[in-house]
């Protein structure tokens, strides 16, 4: 499994470059769409930030299993000895790492373009982002395995993932908003609990059902 993990990371470098560029483009688009008005940008920042995360997540996560098909590794995956859920955990770990790297880059870019000083809220922000990203990646990895085996996958993947992630998006945006305003994490404890619950539920369902996704 560790081997699998390393493989994913090594491969993700090609994805990483493209996603970095995509993130940069997103920032441009946000700026152009909203204009240079600093006040308005500040109000929408938490939403924009997570919009950036989720859009790049959609692209990155969606490719998780497609690369296996393109590289003809799919049968190898299916034939791999041991529990299929190990593949899920490995893929999830790889995706998590990829997304966290992308999110860090996006965060720096946001700070740079919107002229924000995020250093004093960074620890709290990191907690929110970590919890939210686990929830995104857990369902994303499961769904990516399904949609990779279906036609019109690049269409179906976001269509399935976005509604399911709605509570996660609400929670992360609200929590991020509070954190950016300098409020302590305690004031958003209920959101963090919800995110933690989502993480646990999603990973548990993912581990338990992944077997059925990888049958044929």
């Amino acid at each position: 499994m560790v081997w699998k993990d390393l493989l994913v990371e090594r491969r993700s470098k090609e994805t990483l470059n493209a996603l970095f560029f995509f993130g940069l483009l997103l920032l441009f688009v946000f700026q152009f769409a909203l204009g240079p008005d600093r006040e308005r940008l500040a109000g929408t920042l938490p939403g924009l930030l997570w919009l950036g995360f989720i859009l790049s997540g959609l692209l990155g996560l969606g490719r998780t299993f497609v690369v296996e098909r393109e590289n003809d590794c799919w049968e190898g995956l299916l034939l791999a000895p041991g529990d299929k859920s190990a593949i899920y955990v490995g893929k999830l770990a790889g995706n998590l790492l990829l997304m966290l790297v992308i999110e860090t880059i996006l965060l720096v870019l946001f700070g740079f373009f919107f002229n924000l000083d995020l250093t004093h809220v960074l620890p709290a922000l990191a907690v929110v982002i970590a919890l939210g990203t686990v929830a995104l990646a857990a369902v994303g990895t499961l769904f990516a395995a399904m949609t990779a085996q279906v036609r019109a996958r690049e269409l179906l993947f976001p269509v399935l993932l976005l509604p399911v992630e709605a509570p996660v998006l609400l929670a992360t945006v609200k929590a991020t908003e509070a954190v950016l305003l300098g409020e302590p994490l305690g004031s958003v404890a209920h959101w963090l609990k919800l995110l933690a619950a989502a993480d646990v539920v999603y990973i548990a369902v993912g581990v338990l059902t992944f077997d059925f996704v990888m049958e044929g």
Binding site: Q149, V159, P163, V164, L170, W191, A198, V201, V205
Partner: protein, 215 residues
């Protein structure tokens, strides 16, 4: 048996309509608009019932691999989406004169609309997969994920914002509604549940015939 269920359902719906729109008293502040509750609340109930059935049937399919369970999940999801849509439509019609707007991002409206798109995605997934067995497996997985997501959707949206009036039926303490209204509502609950059972059995039968015709 099927036509009996259909007949009973029809009688029940007719009785429910008469109870709700003729016998039950006119509500003092909202007027006749309030009567839409007799359709609105049972619709939500059926929607939640349908999605619960999807969950149970999905688990049953993955464990037993019985195609009947898959057809039950499929039929139930379709009926669930239909009634979620009905809930939104009736709520909207009620909301315009009462709240002054067709749509607002109130907690329960948002919850129901998220459920709506979630299960619409479920049906979309089913439609996209030609291979019957694979479609059944994937749909079952999605049916389970979606069902476990419902409480998360509920709480997140509830904290996000709330404007909807609290439920007036199941709250503790002495009821504020006169008995006749409760009776009318209960008749409609029963009729809608029968309607759900009727739709699902008919739809599951069509799915079975389709499968047989293909085989």
């Amino acid at each position: 048996m099927r036509s009996l269920l259909g007949g009973v359902t029809l009688v029940g719906l007719a009785a429910g309509l008469v109870m709700g729109f003729a016998i039950a008293p006119r509500e003092a502040t909202q007027g006749n608009v309030q009567r839409i509750m007799y359709l609105h609340v049972p619709s939500v109930w059926v929607a939640y019932l349908a999605f619960a059935v999807v969950l149970v049937a999905s688990i049953a399919y993955l464990v037993r691999r019985a195609e009947a369970a898959d057809r039950l999940a499929h039929a139930s999801a379709e009926v669930g989406v239909l009634f979620t849509g009905l809930t939104i439509a009736t709520g909207s019609i009620w909301g315009k004169p009462t709240w002054g707007t067709w749509w607002t991002w109130d907690a329960r409206l948002t919850t129901v609309s998220i459920l709506f798109v979630m299960y619409l995605g479920y049906l979309l997934l089913r439609g996209m997969i030609e291979d019957r067995e694979r479609g059944a497996r994937f749909a079952a997985v999605l049916g389970i994920v979606a069902a476990f997501n419902i409480p998360l959707v509920h709480f997140s949206v509830y904290w996000w914002r709330t404007l909807h009036q609290p439920p007036s039926l199941m709250k503790p303490g002495p009821g504020t509604m006169p008995g006749i209204i409760v009776t009318a509502l209960l008749v409609n609950f029963a009729a809608f549940t029968l309607l759900y059972a009727y739709f699902v059995t008919r739809r599951a039968r069509v799915l079975r015939l389709e499968a047989e015709a293909e085989a």
